[in-house]
Amino acid sequence: MTNALPTLPPSKFHEWITTVDHKKLGVLYMVTGFVYLVVAGCEALMIRWQLAIPNNDILSPDTFNAFFTMHGTTMIFLVGMPILLGAANYFIPLVIGARDMAFPRLNAFGYWLFFFGALLLYFSFIAGQGLTGEEGAPNVGWFAYAPLTSTTFSPGSATDYWVISLFIAGLGSIMTAINLVATILTMRCEGMTLMKMPLFAWMMLVDAGLILIVLPPLAAIQIMLLLDRQFGAHFFDAQAGADPLLWQHMFWFFGHPEVYILIIPGFAYVSEVVPVFSRKVLFGYPMMVAATVSIGFISLGVWAHHMFAVGLSPAILAYFSGATFLVGVPTGMKIFNWIATMWGGHIRFDTPMLFATGFISMFVLGGMTGIMLAVVPMDWQLTDTYFVVGHFHWVLFGGLIFAIFSGFYYWFPKVTGKMLNETMGKWQFWFLFVGFLLTFGPMHMAGFEGMPRRIYTFMPDRGLELWNMLSSIGALVQVFGFLFFIINVVWSLRKGEDAGDDPWDAWTLEWSTTSPPPPWNFAETPTVASRRPLWDLKHPDDPDWKYE
């Protein structure tokens, strides 16, 4: 006999909110990220609806400002970061043969900080009005330049919500980064030296390092902005002798590496997908590692290329222009390595590979427009026009989102045990691809015609109608792509084909365990001898470790 109360079996809900398991937290991160992707997508659709025709009045100017601010902020902090960190959470222990992250409870704490930080940002829609009855949601743009964010120009509490919510979510990201560094450097299975890690682990290590370096400066200036707004400090107050440009320098010291923080995981997924679907070893592994580390370092020294139009001295312009060109070198090395991996391979164009090749081709083009913008006189002409909007959507949508879908189709079978439907996957790819070209291609043209970004409408007969209409039609085409995605996920979860442990005949450790993996990941912690442990297992007569 026991006096203890009868214990009920823990509910699913209880299990998920109290979990410290890296796989469950990874799923929570990714699901949250995809929910916010839909939200941010709807905001973008409203923007494109407003800009479809000249002098449209679907959105008021203030609401338009709030929508582009929330779209940008959401995509960067509530979509990009959680999906990438969630995928890292899920797969880093699996690819390095560990049973969990180094600090599981810190991991859960990081997720919940992110979760509530994100809620706080969206709470501003109803609570941000403050006492002055100003616009609810933040409307200062995702980079929130001073002095626009001062109480003079942004009364109400919307900007405070922006600061506090991103600060909290940022703390969560830092905790995840700490966890990733510790996990990758200390929890690898036996035999896995640094140069035998899958590139996924290498790239997430660099990514986590960048987060540790650049998120604190953002936190610091956010605190300064909050002190200015709430406690009468003068950090960005030109009348007290301060320099509002300081915000731009500090923000972009965070903001430029941030886009690398977003794209490096994209590189990571593609580096895993391309070899498996080309049936070849990744070409130039050490070069890939070196290129990733160099991109990490160079990205810390290019921030002022966002500020060419503010009046910097010629020497500084020349330095930042040159440093920006330099990024093209390691990035180009990666592109060539992926192509060389495919070269002569037995390529299978399943959906993950379609998205991966979509990523490579579009990322090259987005990189090209980036190089164009790094040319100072060109930037003076194009700064703050739709050309810039076209450029960064090319790299972040055509690059990152395609890479995310590539990874999603590749690893979904591992996470759920079900295959995604290939036919629907291909429909999704082609709708997204065509919609993407149609949305963001014409933006470059509108930019050349001089259309500034962040205006709520434009005049007729300025040569802008066609480009804007095309962009808006493209956005609608993308909606069909996303619908195929959602239907595919829901359908496949219920009726998808069983995946088995290793549906793609892949080579990294996550495919050696069951789908979905058990809570302990591996019944026995594996021992590896090469970068492709599963190849060694499947081909004992011709193992990789003989050649590495």
Partner: protein
């Protein structure tokens, strides 16, 4: 997966080492940002009072010595714990907490003087804004450190600290050394270069 020439397991540090190094790395960049802003705004304040009118070396030097000594006492405490000398451990731990608390009280007295006598507050001018933010964030970190060390001391008094807790307490001491090093930087920037 287990061929004959299997590589030996890579030599790996405990995860806590890397975790704490990462925490300190990220904190370094946080304070670096505050210091960069302080230096960028040095001499830019349009109105007074200015550093040369307000900051004095007397009290802050004593505070600095207290903080530096506390970094030494925490090492003594850890050595005592490693050797299993609990009394000595508690003594040096308490000394560390008191020195940290001394630093905080000293800072409070200094700020009281600045606010009441020199009429320098956060809102007064650009110098006040940057000074209180930089020194304040450091003091905030010291406060956190003192609380952590005090918590450990309390646990020790109740007899809950064993020899095998040595590693975890050492991580707290890393943080404490870090706070100390940041103070050296802040002291040099604010009181030596900045005046």
């Amino acid at each position: 997966m287990t061929p004959s020439n299997s590589n030996p397991a890579p030599h790996m540090l405990p995860p806590g080492h890397l975790g704490m190094i990462s925490v300190i790395t990220t904190e370094v960049f946080f304070f670096a940002s505050l210091i960069v802003v302080y230096l960028a705004y040095l001499g830019k304040s349009i109105s007074g009072p200015l550093p040369q009118d307000t900051l004095e070396m007397g009290l802050v030097s004593i505070n600095t010595v207290a903080l530096l000594v506390s970094s030494v006492t925490v090492v003594f405490a850890l050595n005592a714990l490693r050797k299993g000398n609990n009394t000595r451990f508690l003594l040096f731990m308490l000394l560390t907490v008191l020195l940290g608390a001394w630093f905080l009280v000293g800072t409070a007295i200094e700020w009281q003087g600045l606010i009441a006598d020199k009429h320098l507050a956060l809102q007064t001018n650009l110098f006040g804004t940057t000074y209180y933010t930089l020194v304040g964030f450091h003091a905030f970190h010291v406060t956190f450190g003192v609380l952590a060390l005090f918590f450990i001391w309390c646990c020790g008094v109740f007899g809950w600290i064993q020899k095998h807790h040595h590693q975890n307490i050492e991580y707290v001491s890393w943080y404490w050394h870090f706070v100390d090093v940041v103070w050296i930087a802040v002291f040099l920037v604010v009181y030596v270069i900045g005046r």
